[in-house]
């Protein structure tokens, strides 16, 4: 080993310290492109490609607001819960974004803990926003109200409708189901599909998740796994923008889910219906975390029906399905035909030092030209009714594309998925007990729902 004197030691130590100081930017990750730059930071769920797809939107915003630099930061996540967890780590690291795209799954978590209310901005710019609210269904807006305040302007949504394979229906000798078809009609169609099929064909395929899992069946049976109540307030918005809407009087200051309801008789009835369907081989046993292969399987023709929203259209076209190969209808009616939907919009973070600039972004994105730039193809459903037109689905289908927005117009009590601030824990408690309830014996439904009730109560008691 080479010897080293005191001076040499000090010199090398100094060199090390200088090298460390020189690489400080790298060590503290300040050299990450955009980190620490003087721009409005907008976090979206997606890949760098998704961020790039918004380049047109950003360019259009810059044209209108050259004084506000914008950076779109794409954050990947397996699902919304995963995305929100990453946003929270950004908050913990002291580098929170200014604006975050938040879906219904996280709307109340953000409203409760992270997001700033938009009320003052909306009141101030009411005239500018009149066009937006006149074009957007109040159910979507109400989904983003929390304790009387508005936290997001919904940009896109997806209700759980039923997609069906046209060839499977033809094989079964039945036409497109009527708009007011019932749960019994659904079973009848599924049985006919089963009789006319071969191989691994499954009349109904569904996945075990909050959106599109058991919840649409529960909603159409006029129940849910959580007790749904409404907050007071919100009159300032309904009176100003929806005074002429016949449903405005029944609108509220937002949804609340404070108690578990899995042991409700209607919930039991719904799960028994689903259990029988799975036992008869008409419906798949819903695998947890599944769904990725669903579009491909549906396009292959091995699935007869499945719950999906407007977001599927583009994927089915990419999968090779023509406009007449599939169609969509409302979810079948039980005690009611109330549908489930999820929506998404931009939330401004409480911690943002650029709230005014962030509001300009949110307001800009709610304009029709901006929404056309953000959603050029039907891989979701725009919240502006005027955008959901034949031209939007031209060459892609489905034939009855009107179903997507009619879901809200015809069933105005349709509501968001039950997503309290503890949504992630609630979703875990729900999906972990669904399979046991729908795949076991008939006598196993109540015990499984009893466990679900216990787990949901624990979830609702947990933070945040």
């Amino acid at each position: 080993m080479a010897d080293i004197g005191r001076r040499g030691f000090l010199a090398l130590g100094g060199l090390g310290a200088a090298a460390t100081a020189a690489s400080w930017e790298r060590l503290t990750a300040r050299d990450i492109p955009g980190r620490g730059d003087d721009a409005l930071n907008i976090a979206i769920l997606g890949t760098a490609q998704d961020a790039a797809a918004r380049a047109g939107l950003v360019a259009a915003f810059r044209e209108r607001h050259p004084e506000i630099p914008v950076r779109v930061q794409a954050i990947q996540g397996a699902d919304w819960s995963n995305f929100f967890a990453k946003i929270l780590t950004l908050v913990a690291a002291g580098t929170p974004p200014d604006v975050v795209v938040v879906a219904t799954e996280g709307a109340q978590l953000f409203a409760d803990r992270l997001a700033a209310p938009l009320d003052e901005y909306v009141r101030r710019d009411a005239d500018e926003l009149a066009d937006y609210f006149s074009d957007v269904h109040p159910s979507l807006v109400e989904a983003f109200m929390y304790q009387g305040s508005l936290f997001q302007l919904p940009m896109d949504f997806n209700a759980a409708n039923v997609y069906h394979n046209t060839a499977a229906l033809e094989r079964a000798g039945v036409g497109r189901p009527a708009d007011d078809w019932t749960h019994d009609d659904f079973l009848d169609v599924a049985r006919r599909m089963q009789r006319g099929a071969s191989g691994s064909f499954r009349p109904f395929f569904w996945t075990n998740r909050l959106w599109g899992g058991v919840v649409p069946w529960l909603y159409t049976n006029d129940t849910s796994v959580l007790v749904e109540t409404r907050d007071g307030g919100g009159g300032w918005l309904w009176d100003r923008f929806y005074a002429d809407d016949p449903t405005s009087a029944s609108r509220s200051g937002g949804y609340r889910w404070l108690d578990a309801n899995a042991d409700d008789e209607r919930v039991v009835e719904t799960f028994e219906y689903l259990r029988d369907m799975v036992a008869e081989g008409l419906g798949s046993s819903p695998a947890q975390g599944g769904g990725n292969e669903l579009v491909a399987r549906f396009a292959e023709g091995v699935i007869g029906m499945t719950p999906a929203g407007g977001f599927w259209v583009d994927g089915l076209a990419a999968g090779g399905m023509g406009p007449d190969d599939f169609d969509v209808t409302f979810f079948p009616r039980g005690r009611s035909q109330r549908h489930q939907f999820g929506a998404a919009g931009y939330a401004i973070m409480q911690t943002s030092q650029r709230k005014d600039e962030a509001w300009e972004w949110v307001k800009f994105c709610a304009t029709r030209p901006a929404m056309e730039l953000a959603m050029p193809r039907p891989n979701t459903t725009p919240t502006r009714r005027s955008m959901v037109q034949a031209s939007y689905y031209s060459g892609l289908g489905p034939k009855h594309w009107q179903v997507f927005y009619d879901t809200l117009d015809r069933f105005p009590t349709s509501g968001p998925i039950p997503a309290p601030p503890q949504q992630a824990a609630v979703e875990t408690a729900l999906i972990k007990n669904v399979v046991a309830a729908v795949t076991g014996s008939g006598g196993g439904v109540r015990p499984a729902l009893g466990r679900m009730q216990r787990d949901l109560e624990l979830a609702l008691r947990s933070a945040p």
Binding site: M1, E293, A424, A436, A463
Partner: protein
């Protein structure tokens, strides 16, 4: 005694390079050498302290706080430990993990040893090299992507495995939607993805057993099973100890396979200790609770490893 040491040391140092008989280094020189050593070791020590020791200490401290990232942490004493003790999901997750460790590690060691013995048997060198690489390959794959592919293969309705079964006239199996099916798939996928390293350890261990021991035992009349039990297994026991310690520590931390394949379901049948840590922290925002579960799991790992080393005195033969 000192004479004995010198007498033993003499032949060993006789052929050693001259540096072995260097004159003693003066104190000032030792200090200089110490500084150089400190300089070279410093980056590693700093990294270890910053990125390993500090997070461990912070995690232990966090276990006594309630923290949701958004608000300031609040000291709650042992409340997190009381909460997890009363939580049936956490209990189930730990029981699942222990059961999983027993089955998966046993299977992993058995498969690795069996394959290592086969690969070390008489065969052309190129074929042995091929098998070594091929059997190691699953370990190179990302656990998440490997599990994702397996989720497609074991899908009840459209998976290849059930297609083969139904093609052969057998009923489709609810692999991922029944408790026993999900546990079976998680164990199989975990073992498939992890046996490669243990296999390499065994191949190395087998290669180090001198052939003349087998030849001598053959002259004494020992063949087949007797040779395997009394020579192969006995001389391989240090390797088995190392392999089992590493396999158990790794299996106690299983996360990727059940997370991707089943998300812990159906019910809690494949929920593991690390999964509840993840769910507590990143889904329920209970970071203190997650740290408490992590601390309990760490103590379990330390206890199990200590027990293994204690038991090894009886079963491990170093010569």
């Amino acid at each position: 005694m000192s004479d004995l040491i010198r007498a033993d040391a003499a032949p060993a140092t006789a052929g050693a390079p001259p540096t072995a008989t260097r004159p003693p280094v003066p104190p000032a020189g030792r200090r200089r050498q110490g500084r150089v050593a400190a300089l070279f070791v410093a980056p590693t020590v700093v990294g270890l302290v910053l990125f390993t020791m500090l997070p461990i200490v912070a995690s232990v401290v966090l276990a006594f706080f309630r923290w949701d990232i958004i608000s300031a942490p609040r000291f709650v004493g042992l409340q997190n430990f009381a909460d997890i003790g009363a939580d049936p999901t956490v209990r189930t997750a730990f029981l699942n993990t222990f059961g999983f460790v027993v089955v998966a590690v046993t299977l992993q060691l058995a498969v690795s040893l069996g394959l290592a013995v086969l690969v070390q048997s008489r065969m052309p060198g190129w074929l042995r090299a091929f098998f070594r690489s091929a059997l190691f390959f699953p370990l190179v794959l990302s656990a998440a992507s490997g599990s994702l592919v397996m989720a497609y293969l074991f899908n009840q309705d459209f998976g290849l495995v059930n297609r083969v079964l139904t093609g052969a006239g057998l009923p489709a199996v609810p692999w991922l939607t029944s408790g026993w099916g999900a546990v079976t798939v998680v164990v199989l996928v975990y073992v498939w993805q992890n046996f490669g390293f243990t296999f390499l350890l065994f191949v190395g261990g087998l290669a180090s057993i001198p052939r003349d021991v087998y030849e001598a035992s053959a002259i004494d009349g020992a063949t087949g099973w007797k040779q395997f039990r009394h020579i192969t297994l006995a001389l391989l026991s240090p390797t088995v100890l190392v392999a089992s310690v590493m396999a158990i520590i790794s299996a106690l931390q299983i996360f990727d396979q059940p997370y991707v394949l089943t998300r812990g379901g159906p019910g809690d049948s494949t929920r593991t200790a690390v999964m509840v840590i993840f769910e507590s922290a990143f889904q329920q925002l209970q970071f203190g609770r997650a740290a408490a579960i992590g601390l309990v799991l760490t103590l379990v790992i330390v206890a199990v490893t200590a027990l293994q080393f204690r038991l090894s005195r009886r079963f491990v033969h170093y010569s």
